[in-house]
Symmetry: D2
Subunit: 427 residues, 4 copies
Amino acid sequence: MSILAIPILGEARHPSPVAYHVPDNVYIPAEVGWVNGAPPAEPLLFERAGPRAKLFFDPKQTRAGIVTCGGLCPGLNNVIRSLFLELYYGYGVKEVLGFYDGYRGLDPARCKPPVVLTPEFVEDIHKQGGTVLNTSRGPVDTGVAVDNLIERKVDILFTIGGDGTLRGGRDLYLEAKRRGYALSVVGIPKTIDNDVPYVARTFGYFTAVEEASQVIRRAHMEAHSVENGISLVKLMGRHSGFIAAGATIASQDVNFCLIPEVPFALEGPDGFLEALKKRILKRKHAVIVIAEGTGQDLLGNEGDERDASGNVKLKDIGSFLREKIQAFFKAEQIPVVLRYIDPSYIIRSCPADAEDAVLCDLLARNAAHAAMAGKTGMAVGLVNDHYVHVPIEMLATHRKRVDPDGEEWRAVLAATGQPARMGSPAR
Amino acid sequence: MSILAIPILGEARHPSPVAYHVPDNVYIPAEVGWVNGAPPAEPLLFERAGPRAKLFFDPKQTRAGIVTCGGLCPGLNNVIRSLFLELYYGYGVKEVLGFYDGYRGLDPARCKPPVVLTPEFVEDIHKQGGTVLNTSRGPVDTGVAVDNLIERKVDILFTIGGDGTLRGGRDLYLEAKRRGYALSVVGIPKTIDNDVPYVARTFGYFTAVEEASQVIRRAHMEAHSVENGISLVKLMGRHSGFIAAGATIASQDVNFCLIPEVPFALEGPDGFLEALKKRILKRKHAVIVIAEGTGQDLLGNEGDERDASGNVKLKDIGSFLREKIQAFFKAEQIPVVLRYIDPSYIIRSCPADAEDAVLCDLLARNAAHAAMAGKTGMAVGLVNDHYVHVPIEMLATHRKRVDPDGEEWRAVLAATGQPARMGSPAR
Amino acid sequence: MSILAIPILGEARHPSPVAYHVPDNVYIPAEVGWVNGAPPAEPLLFERAGPRAKLFFDPKQTRAGIVTCGGLCPGLNNVIRSLFLELYYGYGVKEVLGFYDGYRGLDPARCKPPVVLTPEFVEDIHKQGGTVLNTSRGPVDTGVAVDNLIERKVDILFTIGGDGTLRGGRDLYLEAKRRGYALSVVGIPKTIDNDVPYVARTFGYFTAVEEASQVIRRAHMEAHSVENGISLVKLMGRHSGFIAAGATIASQDVNFCLIPEVPFALEGPDGFLEALKKRILKRKHAVIVIAEGTGQDLLGNEGDERDASGNVKLKDIGSFLREKIQAFFKAEQIPVVLRYIDPSYIIRSCPADAEDAVLCDLLARNAAHAAMAGKTGMAVGLVNDHYVHVPIEMLATHRKRVDPDGEEWRAVLAATGQPARMGSPAR
Amino acid sequence: MSILAIPILGEARHPSPVAYHVPDNVYIPAEVGWVNGAPPAEPLLFERAGPRAKLFFDPKQTRAGIVTCGGLCPGLNNVIRSLFLELYYGYGVKEVLGFYDGYRGLDPARCKPPVVLTPEFVEDIHKQGGTVLNTSRGPVDTGVAVDNLIERKVDILFTIGGDGTLRGGRDLYLEAKRRGYALSVVGIPKTIDNDVPYVARTFGYFTAVEEASQVIRRAHMEAHSVENGISLVKLMGRHSGFIAAGATIASQDVNFCLIPEVPFALEGPDGFLEALKKRILKRKHAVIVIAEGTGQDLLGNEGDERDASGNVKLKDIGSFLREKIQAFFKAEQIPVVLRYIDPSYIIRSCPADAEDAVLCDLLARNAAHAAMAGKTGMAVGLVNDHYVHVPIEMLATHRKRVDPDGEEWRAVLAATGQPARMGSPAR
């Protein structure tokens, strides 16, 4: 069996004040297809999430902390709020601290002290975008952070961020363990790109698709209202084109959807530019959506430069493509009206929509349950429609990507009518 | 094994023009929990949906029809549109007809003739609510309808509607079979209440939750802006309180969420009215959300009356509760300001949001794939995050309901702070 | 000349800290049409609003109060916020108090004490609907209120409410005057119905039209999606149909717009029901919008009953019309599907849209200017696109009503295609 | 007297089918302030708009055309729709043609032929952004266009566009007159910037302010969620900062509003950058809104280059300012997180909001009335809350600009708290 064990701080012996319980021995398989009626052999099995009957931490003696890291994403405040409410009302913990400014906030020399969360503080925070705890990029010195957490008697730390953040959280737990301090670190994966494995939908993704669809509708009107109008919309998606694909299917207004998972050639008889020309000559307008991480090969990006979070610095495919399109049609002597739209900052800073609000609530409450039971070094996941516990290491095994042979991408091809393959990829 | 077989019209021997395929022998289990690492014993196994390599129908000779029945639901036009596009562009079928006015439209004596769908006709229909094919309640004479379908040489009929509609569709297939006519009838389940089993989310549900959440936000401002303000919001949910529960979790502005699955007493020291009084005395305002099918026991509804669709006629719990609350506080000499809000018709007539748009697209395309492969007497479902084929009979086995012991209802209790049980149920 | 003089508390001799000034001798005429090039003879002339060079109150010694009364209206929080900001930052007054719960809040025996407003308190209040100061209906004992205002050393009171509220405010000023206490009372007229004379647009009206238009769009889809679908939407408008008319013109989806200013007969060959029948037979669907105060004659409402604010209690024309329509078509043996929608509480509790936000800001700042200059017994108005000072008495001279011979109503008739006159009025 | 005469094609002797009339001898003054109670001396007097009792054109013999020119603006489809409906239903004209692709559409050699408008064609066009007639920049050969209009027997041409478009329309009328052909050309001024004189609000402006306010709210969350976060939002406004000012007042989330009318210095102790630094040090975040035409002096733009519409090509102040800010804070060794947002294409392509929808309807209907009465060489205006006829020449006398000494700009200063003057202007 491939049961994915979750690190545990010790025996759970405090009875839980929470009224219903999920047993510790139920697992959700990553693979659910039964071929010819036989169960999958040796699937990855994830512990099912939920409140446990016994807790490692005595709620009345427990102090928790929350930190939000990396870029904005709809739902951050919802997660903060539901974490607090579950801990405070559900378990009756002693205190919940909100650390400011991302991981920087764990270093007392680099940030103001944390805020003690209260029902009044969190009352309406879910109605606005951003994060009330602020955020930043980059790591913290593990030793300094653990010093601080021990000094402040923090038993549980919830880290809301991308994979770098979650791995950093695991380092904190390991360092605390080395010192004999029982620190639970539980992550809530945050990536608007929806590219985390074993989390079917990351929070904020749905909202981003909704917002992106609205932008695409406007881009469609721009292109549609002039002869040979072209709207080029750059959307988020560093390694995975889920937002671009989702918004394409939802809006049904896109004619070319370009994502990192499906390389293409610009030039040549089967390339993108010729396909675009055919479309323009035939229909007189086109909407192009491109994920920001697409076509780094075309840009000659070797991936050497990195930002403060350790992410590869992307080269700007949007501006590049804009110039290529303009030059191409100029050479072809076809006058076009090209509009370039980059709505990323508008999209990621908006409040969570209802679906994401529900997702945030359940992710956060399940994270609280796991931590109170003494689990650590893990994140909350969503596998085959069930919330699960995912060891941090599993998140780093791969990225979730749009499957070029799957039904989602096929729905994109059907919605756009674009060629399934556009030229040989540049590599 | 409990493989749920799908009726098939005959051998599928025409090669499919669709480029990727899902084999016919992969099944998705209804139950995915592996206890102690062992697979579930004898789970219900559903055929996985998707395009098949071989088709029963020769696309070039195939004529399909679409009909929408019952009440409005966000996404109807998206389903119509994606069905047409998959059949027309994906398979190249000869013709797709849109029958008007629900099942009435299958009877030529009672309705104008169907429209031949075209790319121009469906171009922008998904941007508006309602259904361009119109809808109605009630059945059609099966013999008359089959006469008409045969006369019009319709090979496939897609029925978009509730369980009555889907069962009616199966009758059509069986009647045609009796006459030796190969008619595929494939349903796309439609219920804004989200109460269909084996369809994790029915289309329109997410949009309804989003819209209901916005209404609740307004109701909260009404209640919050006066002393002892009470807003009472009636939402859809005849048998299942999913919309009420979802909107409660999403908005986090509700103080009492009342659903059919969780009976309660009005009167008595543990009853709802006392709980409301405590809330009002302490916080000076309250928001109550009630699903329309709640508390039929309190109303003495024996369920004898039925509407044209065969649904039990509900008595109006909203007005009843409004009067009970007003009488109660009058007797208690506590002046309250009560606002009653019934937004149902506003919610169900709006366009699908992005998430529902994606869901509609994938449901519709999978329905098209199933029909072209010769499947019939089935509906498209969604089990553990995978699209599947569900025999119509299975839809009638039970309703999907909010589990009073599950994590969703617990999230409701946490969001509202309402007592888990309010008095003994009236029965 | 008909210059409308504004009561003034005394000589304005303190220099204003505000950098720009509007002189006291500029007037805006109510009537601007120059016939044959000659100016209107003896028009009503209103003092132009704006900051004055000299103030009656010494800002550093001045304490102001704010109270919100009556029903909710989008923009209340914007007005509170801009009043505070202008007084606090623009003039540097000593203190601004927010009295709770409408006029009840002026009576210390009936309400908790006022809040001292701060920049933090008002920071984000304009982003939500309702009023952070709460509201109530009904008057306060003038003597008690003036006692309290004198006791609290309040020099200026801003009253935000309908005409009853504004007249009540004048009584406070007169009572204070009688006692030799210089109290400025300045009103900001609040009526979502937009029926105040000399205020071309009251705040909240635009937002209400926008929201009502969205509701009408949904109602149109309801009616349009079934055979003989009728949607009946009741909108606000006790005496004046501005919201119904505005939303009809904006949405262009309405077929009958019924307002108090244009009486009609229900029955008879030229009556409303026959006109509706013609429409249904011809187009198979209809959207009806009715202002709540319409057709009180049909209901036999003599106007004897009044609510706590002194407003005539309206009888429910919506339910009445619904029943009449259903009975009529039943008798005609024409099956119709009628949906009744009453969105009033959803509309009035929403935040102000951008246009209303700007209007609220300018109304509030001009009210602050007037009060600091020592004006009293007045309200801020908007005449021919200029902000003016309106003596409270002028507000009571008449209601602003939709002119059945004017261009707005003509635009309604053009948008709906309804008959200009439907039968003889019932009277 | 300064009555602004409108050119008239000849005697109006056909009785109007429209039921109510506005006489021809009522004028609205541009200036309405009565100083010391005396009417303004020699004000500009504009003919009041509205249906006239007598028409120059016999409706049954009349053919009209509509053309939309220049950039997108919310409400274009509303104007097209209401023009058609008024002509078709109100007057019963013979035919209304929609010319495609802006002025290019008047040249049969450069564009497909016009569409004959019908009730079905315009049914739902107002629910979407853009223009169904398409648009383009640039003029048409006057002789060719008049040939075509005469050939097609077009009696009236409605031109919807900016001042270049309107002047071009007057040239058409003059050329037709020279040939003895009675052509009425009536303009509906279109500028999202709201910079047309004698049109208090141009259509689309309100919608743009609403949309821009939403974007600013998001920008605020971006800036507010990180330490030293700066959001820089570029908005439309080539010569006039009305959108930037309006959105600043509406959102109340802006800290610096920069517009063409108020020059400023970047550098120096009183310059913008120092003011921004003070804000960042004190409050840790800032939102900057800049109109696109601002600071062309700083960019060294001499205004030599022009686009196809004849507009001066602006240099990109947004990118320039972004770089200046980043360089400045780098030199100051203050780490900032700067987000640059350019939402222009998203804003201008959206549908009209309710207020703009009403405005479009009334502008369009008044334009139809004027043309049917035989007026030409004019545009519809809005002066002191009354619709008027404006001779085309008057539109070119000046641009409407934000008055740096007026109440609107003062409301901006109050909302932002920015210094009234930032350094000496560069010039």
